[in-house]
Symmetry: C2
Subunit: 524 residues, 2 copies
């Protein structure tokens, strides 16, 4: 079943009435001019205020997992905005938060690209923010607070270096907002879509996409989602803040490693340095997993990695050198890798201790020998590697340190064995890795789009270090995914004071506009 695009729908922005140009998008017949990069630039320069208002509107939805009403309101706004541009929209549910699907087809002679966004944001702890997370707020280049975005005068100075703060204002509503503005721009300029555009706006990406697989596996959805490629418009740019095309993600599996002492906490005066201390023993175990340069010392951990191609190695070699700047920016005292470059390291699997806990520290601490100590691990894997095999290597390493490795807390019988006791428990979730070849035609076309729209070729990353459910689009639908990242790398994605740099946001509008007008190849 195919949804037919509805022609002749009017559109508007919420805060500004634009000069309207009606486009008969699905007809193949057009009265429109082409959109050149210069036109895109000129348009964005004269619509900065409207662009920031659109961002403010999206950022004000409390679209986080704990607020279903906020998520529903965001969906409603998105559908309305897309329908104004002639998109057919519907919701797709896999049991979790519904996704919004939208499409506008321009003809069978054109390629079809499925574009991925997500409209939900990470949960917030407002006490750690400098502004209300759901009142998008503008801050000047010098860091001073200008005020809520929605109250800005139309003559307000919107410097490229100013930033808008708010939850999800970058990840991923910055790109969504830029895309909506790009649609406005095409309509305003009378330019046509150059390809069949399908949009998938996920609603629970920040909750690890619990419903995505079942959405993608539904036969009806599969047919709607058919495309030639999947473009993911969600991610921070390379740290040089150049628009970035990335071709893969690492896989991930998470697990909790726990070392056990006595059944309960013991008085440290009466039993300390006699009863085994799980915090000390966990420390030894964690230490044993790494060499002094931070390389993973678990035997075989780097095995089975698919080697990089020549093109991938060449792309890596072209990357701007950002490591020193990054280290300064994040205030990282020292780095691992014995001088190897960050983005080379990211093509290897990693083993990270993402959390560690034994009783309490600080004012809550009590003078006890903790009963257990846990390290939360994440294992990032690369093409060629398998999650089950990777965890098994970690398990064997722990056994090699003399431990009995259980699947959960020990029984009395386990405790009576006179052996060190640990458990390694896999957490729910996780994803495999993927890597789309640089040679993919849509990837090559997108590289051209970015260069034309922004004046410089994109940074190309064979893989990013992160992981995500997008690999399911490849696994279930056979779509080769690639990403185009447009917001600032220092956006505090997932953290307090998330923000987007206005200059990067405005550039994204230009890129998306040129993409819509030219990626399909009719105009180039």
């Amino acid at each position: 079943m195919t949804i037919r695009a509805r022609p002749f729908r009017s559109f508007r922005t919420l805060h500004a009435v634009l000069a309207l140009t009606f486009v008969t998008a699905a007809s193949g017949r057009s009265t429109a001019a082409q959109l050149t990069p210069d036109q895109a630039r000129a348009w964005v320069d004269t619509h900065r205020w409207e662009a920031v208002q659109q961002l403010g509107t999206l950022g004000s939805f409390r679209a986080v997992a704990s607020d279903p009403a906020g998520l529903a309101a965001a969906r409603g706004h998105l559908r309305e905005r897309l329908e104004e541009h002639g998109f057919d929209t519907r919701e797709m549910s896999g049991g979790g938060v519904p996704a919004v699907f939208a499409q506008k087809l321009v003809g069978s002679g054109r390629p079809t690209v499925l574009i991925y966004f997500h409209y939900d944001g990470q949960e917030v702890d407002p006490s750690r923010w400098d502004s209300d997370p759901f009142t998008p707020t503008l801050f000047a280049p010098d860091g001073s607070r200008i005020g809520p975005v929605t109250g800005l005068s139309t003559t307000a100075r919107l410097d490229d270096e100013a930033r808008a703060y708010g939850r999800a204002i970058a990840d991923d509503r910055g790109p969504i907002s830029a895309f909506l503005m790009a649609l406005d721009m095409l309509a305003d300029q009378g330019a046509e879509l150059s390809f069949n555009v399908k949009l998938f706006l996920e609603g629970d990406e920040e909750s690890s996409s619990p419903g995505l697989r079942s959405i993608l596996e539904s036969p009806e959805n599969r047919s709607l989602l058919e495309a030639d490629a999947l473009a993911i418009l969600d991610a921070p740019m390379f740290q040089s803040d150049d628009p970035t095309i990335y071709l893969g993600t690492r896989g991930i599996v998470t697990a909790d490693l726990t070392v056990y002492g006595a059944r309960g906490p013991l008085h440290s005066g009466h039993y300390g340095n006699w009863a085994v201390n799980p915090a000390i023993e966990l420390s030894k175990l964690v230490s044993s997993m790494f060499d002094p340069d931070g390389r993973v010392a678990v035997p075989g951990y780097y095995d089975d990695r698919t080697p990089l191609t020549d093109a991938e190695r060449a792309a890596l070699a072209r990357l701007p050198r950002v490591e020193d700047e990054l280290q300064r920016e994040f205030g990282i005292p020292v780095t691992y890798g014995a001088g190897e470059r960050l983005f080379d390291l990211l093509t290897y699997p990693s083993l990270n201790v993402r959390g560690m806990q034994a009783m309490y520290v600080g004012g809550q601490a009590r003078t006890v020998v903790p009963a257990d100590a846990t390290a939360a691990l994440d294992l990032r894997l690369v093409p060629g590697q398998d999650d089950v095999a990777a965890l098994a290597k970690v398990r064997r390493h722990i056994e090699g340190q003399g431990y009995v490795v259980l699947e959960g807390p020990p029984t009395d019988a386990d405790r009576a064995k006179g052996k060190p006791l640990a458990s390694l428990v896999r957490r729910p979730g996780g994803y495999p890795s993927f890597r789309t070849p640089i040679e993919n035609e849509m990837v090559q076309r997108m590289m051209g789009v970015v260069e034309r729209a922004s004046g410089a070729p994109p940074v190309v990353l064979p893989t990013i270090g992160g992981s995500g459910p997008l690999v399911l689009f490849e696994e279930v639908l056979g779509l080769p995914p690639f990403g185009l990242a447009t917001y600032n790398h220092d956006s505090n994605q997932h953290s307090p004071n998330e923000n987007i740099r206005l200059g990067d946001y405005f550039r994204a509008i230009r890129i998306f506009g040129v993409m819509l007008a030219t990626l399909g190849g009719a105009v180039s």
Copy 2:
């Protein structure tokens, strides 16, 4: 200024009317019989129900730091009960929760012993208890619940192996209750106090005695608290559950050791295994502080320890061998010390990791490189050692691992040094150690009391592993402290399901009765 004991005050228990014998305690003149160990046994055997009621009454006060009204109610009850026995009572405050002071003087020819208790209890988390912490509840020897203590029929079976559960029911209201019952017993039997009894019932011991020093340093209080010795009736018995005399405590100093990574958590996919991971580095640092047998590997950590005397070594050699049973009882998978005995280890300083934290584990974990990781340390010290020097050794050890060791979080300038960064921050509080010689006359007399009252000599510990403010009595008042521990070692002191074994409680009443009647030496 001296408070004169008031003669001829009537007394009663709350739940039973006893046959009353009036005693002219302060007069030196007496109509009373002596109290033999057999009489004490017979009396306790016929007053078990009353004894358990007294325990239930004390255990029902919500006398914890968070409940000032509960503390005040407990104080009121204690003063009332003591005044019924002719004690003069008053409160002593050092700015924190008031202590109750009480005294009953029998004549200048008798020794004066200051007896220490504390009437406050550790805070509770009721969700982890099998019964309400402030509704003392009886459990049968088989672990089945009998019911609230205060609702027991006078014919209820009160087996030695039954246990009463409740917060502070052992630590320290078990001994207080036993002491009040011993006063009832002496009065009932017409027996006299054999020494000048001064009582100090502290109100904020479980909060680390914030006001104790200023109480002891007040000139008025110093004169009231003058005595020949300090007997501390607060502690669990040696693990063989024989009445235990302990002669010292270890000192304690606590500190938080933090290792620093980036200014904030970093995405583990994008920066993991490149940005230094404080959880991993803290693990290495903690590991470096211990050898495989759990001995402290910080250079010089065992220096300056005053050697044990021959008598102390002999007392240690006589200790029942309880290690295997303890290990089984607590479910400790393995122990440190390369086979050295627990109570020998306790005569050495210890270094304990009492807590450890970096971000989150389990369901709350997020895929980040933590910004910092902290280990909460407690250092237990022995006579001859100094807290400042001990912490300095730990600091030097950390520096020896290549760290810059700060006094708190790093500045940007610290971060730019290109060196591993840690901080070692001493926590407030801490105590020195003490060790009263076995040869002390009051210690020798108390050993005799216990042997006569219980039929076996006490276990004598040159030191316990714990630490506490009682050392201030030695430091400020020059009183040689020693402890007499009477409640079961598995009382879950400070933990959920705190309990006292009734047989141990009844034995404590006998011991305290014989102590009151004979410790002063008039009767022996």
